[in-house]
């Protein structure tokens, strides 16, 4: 007798990479804190996923998600584009400077 297959979608991974989960959770947390309304969020996300350069198969959904979050935070004066660029670059440098197998810490940024 063949095993009944699992219901569709039950076993599909929710996030394909950890940063997607973090980006998702940040939006949920910021909304719960009242930083923005869910309607405000849906509007920004909608604008991002409708951009002509968005992937037709939706594979860049979480890239769009992050872009929408950055835009909303910039509008609210909570994180400017330059600030995000600078901290992201520091994280990249820290990652390169950290020996393999050790946790990456922002303090490991050689320029910090």
């Amino acid at each position: 007798m063949s095993r009944p297959e699992l219901p569709a979608g039950i076993d599909e991974p929710v996030f394909s990479e950890p940063w997607q989960a973090e980006a998702f959770a940040m939006v949920v947390a910021l909304h719960e804190r009242g930083v923005f309304s869910w309607a405000e969020w849906a509007e920004r996300l909608s604008a991002e996923v409708k951009r002509p350069e968005a992937a037709a198969d939706g594979s860049d959904y979480y890239e769009r998600w992050v872009a929408a979050l950055e835009r909303l935070l910039a509008e609210k004066g909570l994180a400017g584009h330059d600030e995000v660029d600078a901290v992201a670059a520091a994280w990249e440098r820290a990652a390169h400077a950290t020996p393999h197998g050790r946790p990456i810490l922002l303090e490991n940024d050689p320029l910090a």
Partner: protein
């Protein structure tokens, strides 16, 4: 992209707007606790309990909350019941609004432009691509989700399941059957 997300997390943590423990809890919740199993339990209850089904029809938000599934975005839920005459299909043409509390996070195709644009224009064609052939006379009703209102399709109960326990019934309820791109599994 990972570095940008980390940067956002760093900046927001410094400002006291998020904390990493809370982020971990949210991730864990959506990775392991919420998913289509929740919705399947709601549907199985509705199939087994006429009073619950009636409540679900009138006030889905409250009926679903009574099973412990509540939305975090303050959204309202509406349950739409498939019948012999009408098949229901849910889409979010705006972005990807989805009933997270009962279905977890949406599958990739739900968020993709082809589904979002075509579900409204050509629902029959879209369903055919999902392998779902409806009887010619059957009407398709398409529901467009919003940030405030999300839909749960209650598929028709398969025949031959009289007397089944809710748990057994829930196994027949697929995620796609609750979006409307599928129907419940046949009883084996």
């Amino acid at each position: 992209m990972a570095a940008r997300v980390r940067a956002l997390e760093t900046i927001l943590t410094r400002k006291g707007l998020i904390d990493s423990a809370a982020i971990d809890v949210i991730v864990d919740t959506y990775e392991t606790k919420v998913g289509p199993r929740n919705g399947a339990r709601v549907v199985a209850r509705a199939w087994s309990d006429a009073e619950f089904a009636d409540w679900l029809k009138r006030d889905a938000t409250a009926a679903i909350a009574s099973l412990g599934y509540t939305g975090r975005q303050g959204e309202h839920m509406q349950a739409v019941f498939n019948t012999d005459e009408t098949h229901n299909l849910v889409v979010c043409t705006l972005c990807s609004c989805y009933p997270w509390s009962v279905l977890g996070l949406p599958p990739v195709w739900y968020k993709a432009p082809p589904y979002r644009s075509r579900a409204v224009i050509d629902p029959r064609g879209v369903l055919a691509e999902f392998g779902l052939k409806l009887a010619d006379g059957k009407k398709i009703r398409v529901w467009d989700s919003t940030a405030e209102l999300r839909y749960l399709v209650v598929p028709q109960r398969p025949s031959g399941t009289e007397g089944w326990s809710e748990e057994r019934l829930a196994d027949l309820v697929t995620r796609d059957s609750m979006i409307g791109t599928g129907v419940a599994r046949e009883a084996l």
